[in-house]
């Protein structure tokens, strides 16, 4: 055990910090979940890519730096510390890319990864359907075999930033005789063009962060099948552990939130109920616990270990920590709690109310926390399924 960062890691941190300090927009960008904000975020992503900070842990040939996972964590800590914009490329680089690295053909890697990292081609996820949320295997969208490819028909929903992205990824039933997890195939499909209809859905905070996608006989060539036909479930699930356990929400984000909470407390300390001091301390300790838990996970992975069902613990932990941290912040604001962005008097431009609303999504997305707890109980603790 050595909890000092190596010289190489420290040097990398210093480089990241210097670049971010010089380049992060001084004024926060408008929300990346609105049309105007999205375009500005894409511009930022391009800048990040040019400086080779978009995907530091990827191989150099795809625009990365071949950085270690530990260095990636360091980058993330610095990224959030600097208050840099949220990542609109996130669903591509963190959700789809790991699957492409594992299951993609050379042609797919060459064609897809670099434009994804460079924010030239933007990706949305298309997992859920109106009647297939937690029970994803009950999905009903289909793909029909045709010359040179497939015809996709069905409806996907809760596609993150779907109204603004170019393509999406999701599962479709390719074997009409099959049931549940069998007979599904992982497709990359367009969000523009013939047969595609999009309807934006405003999220809880009012931003158009979601889209419903209606597909009516949309053609997808064979080259946009990821992994083997009828093996889609296995392909999709292979990387969910690293998503829940690591890439989706790295500790840097929550350390930055805890720091902002401490700053808010410092401003309000003489009017704050003593109970809130306890909440602030607890929020800080939780972020620390999450950080060191993750260092343990990353050490294990760097030494050849794997991340499995235990990643569900991570997801429950950070999502519930995030809600509680924001609740503490809003309690500190007193009756200003309700002041939304756009109010002249809203503390931190309304970031706490907005952040709180976003935090409330945490226990729902990437598999609800109820599903995660089932996974923990069944696959980690070995309790019976039925």
């Amino acid at each position: 055990m050595d909890l000092r960062f190596t010289e190489k890691e420290e040097k990398f941190r210093a480089e990241c910090r210097a670049w971010l300090e010089a380049n992060v927009p001084k004024e926060p960008l408008p929300s990346g979940d609105t049309r105007e904000g999205f375009d500005l975020h894409v511009e930022w992503e391009k800048k990040l890519f040019e400086a080779r900070y978009a995907v530091v842990s990827w191989p150099e040939e795809y625009g990365g730096r071949g950085a270690s996972l530990m260095e990636w964590l360091i980058f993330e800590e610095e990224y959030y510390r600097a208050g840099a914009p949220s990542r609109v490329t996130q669903n591509g680089i963190f959700l789809l890319a790991p699957t492409i690295f594992e299951f993609g053909t050379e042609e797919q890697k060459e064609r897809i990864l670099r434009p994804m990292a460079a924010a030239e081609h933007l990706w949305a996820q298309g997992w859920s359907e109106p009647n297939a949320g937690s029970d994803l295997a009950s999905l009903t969208s289909t793909a029909r075999r045709v010359e040179g490819g497939w015809r996709l028909t069905g409806q996907k929903t809760w596609c993150t930033r779907g109204s603004f992205c170019d393509s999406a990824f999701g599962l479709f039933r390719t074997d009409p005789e099959s049931e549940r997890h069998r007979g599904l195939t992982y497709f990359l499909f367009p969000l523009r063009g013939e047969g595609v209809t999009l309807r934006g859905v405003d999220r809880l905070d009012g931003d158009e962060g979601f889209a419903e996608v209606f597909l009516d006989d949309v053609f997808v060539p064979d080259r946009d099948v990821l992994g083997e036909v009828n093996q889609g479930w296995r392909v999709a699930m292979a990387t969910t552990s690293s998503e829940r356990g690591l890439s989706l929400r790295s500790p840097g984000r929550f350390m930055a939130t805890a720091s902002r909470l401490i700053e808010l407390y410092t401003r309000h300390r003489n009017t704050a109920d003593p109970y809130l001091r306890k909440e602030v301390i607890d929020a800080y300790i939780s972020a620390e616990a999450y950080r060191y838990y993750t260092f343990g996970t990353v050490t294990r992975m760097m030494e050849g270990g794997e991340i499995g069902a235990d990643s569900s613990m991570n997801k429950v932990y950070w999502s519930e920590m995030d809600v509680r941290t924001h609740e503490a912040a809003l309690a500190l604001l007193g009756s200003d709690f309700e002041l939304d962005e756009g109010s002249s008097d809203a503390s931190d431009r309304g970031a706490w109310l907005k952040g709180f609303q976003f935090a409330l999504a945490g226990p729902i997305y990437a598999g609800t926390n109820e599903i995660q707890r089932n996974i923990i109980a069944e696959r980690v603790l070995g309790l019976p399924r039925k």
Binding site: T6, R277, S286, Y292, Y293, N374, I376, L381
Partner: protein, 346 residues
């Protein structure tokens, strides 16, 4: 940054686990409980075997017959002792043996080997009027009183026997000293030495609590798999699953804080008290939570002393308050990261 234990550290843990699985079964813990109730002296047992493996003296220097090891080397072993609810002053011994080595001279040095051999049990009275654990069997006491830190033999201390909710702890209150004993430090030095022992005992308690919590969770998991109601194991019910998942999460996010604190102590990092406090606070909270959840999953059988759960639960309760309560440790973290309330500066 490498946050993992070495193979040697894990092997030592495995040895401790094996010894305790054999010699410190719940029945053995229960006998320690009953012996205490009946005023019997404790029989020889796992503590001596652990001493033979070198565990008690591992942190002594090689010249003093130890292995020159540190808090990180010992961490997993203390956790393993917690898992077995070892009814012996392991936390106290490991927390103080190196301070003793640095202070004892001449005849006193012989005491070190007796402590390391498990022949002379040692307890701590670090707070005036505080509760002294394992007072019944300890023959040596480190006492902090009147600005002095001293090592006293049993006949030199005035003990007032109390009854712990966990009978195996055989607690007493220290009323005073009958003789000065061996002085370990005085004035500021005494405060510093006391703090060094206190923080190591707090860390030891955190690790021990995590071990107890693991055991309480496993008892509940096994029970949930075996106990059939409505024609299926209760562990197939989501409500029960979620209790147990919550218990595991509480434990798994407590452990890294304890390991980090162990490292900061081993490296003598200046801010180690804050890390110890985070570790002890979260371990206490996790153990309390897991005790409640485990009891709930067990139902009525868990609410008896016929079942083993109470052996682990009551030790956990006692340790949550030993070497700094949750409020003490939270306040210490607070002072490190937040300005005080009412402070107009800054």
């Amino acid at each position: 940054m490498r946050f993992a234990f070495t193979e040697d550290q894990q092997m030592l843990r495995d040895t401790v686990r094996e010894v305790l699985a054999r010699e410190c079964t719940p029945d053995v813990v229960r006998r320690a409980w009953e012996a205490q109730d009946q005023g019997e002296k404790k029989a020889e047992g796992p503590f001596q075997t652990l001493a033979e493996t070198g565990l008690l003296g591992m942190m002594l220097s090689e010249e003093a017959g130890g292995l020159g090891m540190n808090e990180v080397d010992a961490a997993l072993s203390i956790e393993a002792a917690g898992y077995a609810a070892l009814p012996e002053p392991l936390i106290e011994t490991l927390a103080s043996i190196r301070v003793l080595e640095s202070r004892l001279k001449g005849d006193g040095v012989e005491l070190l080997s007796q402590i390391a051999a498990g022949e002379a049990r040692l307890s701590l009275a670090l707070d005036v009027g505080g509760v002294v654990p394992f007072a019944e069997t300890a023959v040596l006491f480190i006492v902090f009183a009147d600005g002095r830190l001293s090592l006293n033999r049993r006949e030199e201390v005035e003990l007032d026997v109390q009854v712990s909710g966990d009978r195996t702890r055989s607690v007493a209150r220290l009323r005073g000293l009958k003789a000065p004993g061996i002085e370990l430090g005085r004035g500021e030095e005494a405060v510093t030495l006391r703090a060094a022992i206190f923080d190591r005992a707090a860390l030891g308690s955190a690790l021990f609590l995590n071990g107890l919590a693991r055991k309480m969770l496993e008892l509940a998991v096994e029970y949930a798999k075996d106990r059939v109601q409505f024609g299926k194991p209760i562990g197939a019910q989501q409500a029960v699953k979620h209790h147990l998942a919550n218990a595991l999460i509480a434990l798994e996010f407590s452990k890294p804080l304890a390991y980090r604190a162990a490292w900061t102590l081993a490296e003598n990092e200046p801010d180690y008290p804050v890390h110890v406090s985070m570790a002890k606070l979260r371990a206490s909270e996790a153990a309390r939570t897991i005790a409640k959840l485990s009891l709930q999953v067990h139902g009525a059988i868990g609410y008896t002393i016929e079942h083993d759960l109470h052996l682990f639960m009551k030790r956990a309760w006692a340790l949550t308050a030993a070497y700094g309560t949750e409020d003490f440790h939270r306040a210490r973290v607070g002072r490190a990261i937040l300005p005080e309330q009412g402070d107009k500066n800054g």
